[in-house]
Amino acid sequence: MIAVIVRVLGVVAAFLTLPLIVGQTEHKVMAHMQARLGPMYAGAFHGWAQLIADGVKFVQKEDVTPRAADRPVFRVAPLVALLPYLVALLFIPLGPRDTLVGQPLDVGLFVVLAVVGVGVVAVLMAAWSSANKYSLLGGLRAAAQLLGYELPFVLAAASVAMAAGTLSLSGIVNAWRPWWLLWQLPALVVFFVAGLAEIRRPPFDMPVADSELVFGYLTEYTGLRFAFFLLAEYVGIVVIAALTTVLFLGGWKGPFDAQLGWLWTLLKVFAVSFVIIWLRVAYPRLREDQLQRLCWLVLVPVALAQLVLTAAVRVA
C-alpha cells in the first residue's frame, strides 16, 4: 500500500516538474535559435525561475467568466484538459523494474491511447461554452484535427504492439531491439507527427492560430484557468515524448540499463521534447487544408503500409 502511494506521489511530482523544465527549455532554446537571450532576470541565473514568476502572475490575475458563457462547462473545461495527461503519466514505465512505473498494466498502451483521446472533449467544452465565434471556430478545427490524427496515431502504435506481441508498455520495451529503429522508422515518424497534431503544437496549431482566430478556444480564458490549459500543453509534450521514447526508442535500453535505466528514459524524453521545440521554431503553421491532406493522404497510408510490413515480418 505504501509502495503504491509513493509511486503515485512520484508521478504527481513528475507531473509538476517535467512540464516546467520543458517550458523553461522552450523559452531558452527558442530564444537562442532566434538570436535572442530569452528570460534573464527571474531567479538571477539565466532566468531559471521565469516560469515560477509566470505562475505567480497567473494566480494574481482576475478569473473572468464571460457573461454569455455556459458557466459550469466553461469552468470545468481546464481540469478536463489536464486530467487525462496525469492519468497517462501513471502508466509510462521509467525503468526495467516494476517499482519504476506508476501502475504496471497488461493493456497499458491501450489505456494511454484511450485516455489521451479524451482531451478532445475538453477542447470542445472550452470552445462551445465561451460563447465566442472565434472560440467555436477554433474548437471545430481542433475537433476535426484530433479526430483525423487519432487514426494514424493509433495505427502506428498498433504496429509496434504487433511487432512486440504485447500491449504492455514494459513488455514493448523489453521486446525492443536496436534494429527496430530502422524497421519501424515509418511508424516512428507517423506516430511523432500525429502526436504533435494531437497536442496541437506548431506547426499543427491551426485551432489556436492567433493571426486569424485571436487564440482559438483559449480566447476567453484568463488567470489560473488559462494557466491550466498552458500546463496541459506542456504535459502533453512530456506525454508524447515519453510515449515515443517507450514505443520506438527503446525506453530504458542503453549501457548499464539495470541501474541507469531511468536516466536513459529521461534523457530520451528530453531529447524528443527538444525536437518538438525545434520544430516549432523551424516550420510555419500548416493551413487547414494542408493539415487534413497530410493526415489522410500521407500519414494514414504510410501507417497502413507499415502495419502490413510488420504483419508480414511477424508471420514470416
Binding site: D70, D106, F110, L124, A131, G139, A143, L146, L147
Partner: protein, 163 residues
C-alpha cells in the same frame, strides 16, 4: 455487501443519474457532456467486472470518437447556449413505455438472479480475449469489417455536396 458491490452501486447510480440528465436536459451540448459521464461510469462498471479491454475500448471509441462526433454535429447545427424550449414532445407516452420497459426488464433480471452472489472472474487479459475473437468469432469479425467499410462509403456519399 462487498467492496465490489459498493463500487457497482456507486457507478451505477452515477450512470443512471447522468443518463437521466441526457434525456431530460434542455441544454443541447450539456446532453452530450452528460453522455460522457454515463459512458465513463459504464466503463467503470466494466472495470469492476474484470472486462478491462472492453472498458478501455469504450473510452477510446465512445468517449474519444462517438461523443466527439455527436458534439461536433450539435455545434454544426447551431446549438444555442442556454436552454432550448422545443427539444421535447409531450413526454407521457415515452415515460409510460420507457418506465414499462425498465420495470419489465428489471423484474425479469431480479426474478432470474434474486440476491444471489457470484465470485468475480479473474481479470481478463487482452491475449485471452484476442484468442477468442480470432478463433471462434472470426466470421462475425470479418462481416463487421465489411459493414464498417459500407458505413464509411455510405457516410461519404451522403455528405457529398450535390452539384
Amino acid at each position: 455487501m462487498t467492496s465490489a458491490d459498493i463500487l457497482l452501486l456507486a457507478l451505477g447510480a452515477v450512470a443512471i443519474g447522468a443518463a437521466f440528465r441526457v434525456v431530460r436536459t434542455s441544454h443541447l451540448v450539456r446532453a452530450g457532456l452528460w453522455l460522457v459521464v454515463t459512458l465513463g461510469a459504464v466503463a467503470g462498471v466494466y472495470l469492476v467486472l474484470a472486462a478491462e479491454l472492453v472498458a478501455w475500448v469504450q473510452v477510446l471509441l465512445y468517449v474519444g470518437a462517438v461523443v466527439v462526433l455527436l458534439l461536433f454535429a450539435v455545434m454544426l447545427t447551431r446549438a444555442p447556449i442556454g436552454a432550448s424550449a422545443d427539444l421535447d414532445r409531450p413526454g407521457w407516452a415515452g415515460a409510460l413505455v420507457g418506465g414499462g420497459a425498465a420495470l419489465g426488464l428489471g423484474a425479469l433480471f431480479v426474478d432470474g438472479y434474486r440476491w444471489q452472489k457470484v465470485g468475480l472472474p479473474a481479470p481478463g487479459t487482452a491475449e485471452a480475449l484476442g484468442a477468442q475473437l480470432f478463433q471462434h468469432w472470426v466470421l462475425p469479425f470479418e462481416v463487421l469489417s465489411v459493414l464498417l467499410l459500407a458505413a464509411l462509403v455510405g457516410a461519404i456519399v451522403v455528405s457529398r455536396p450535390e452539384t
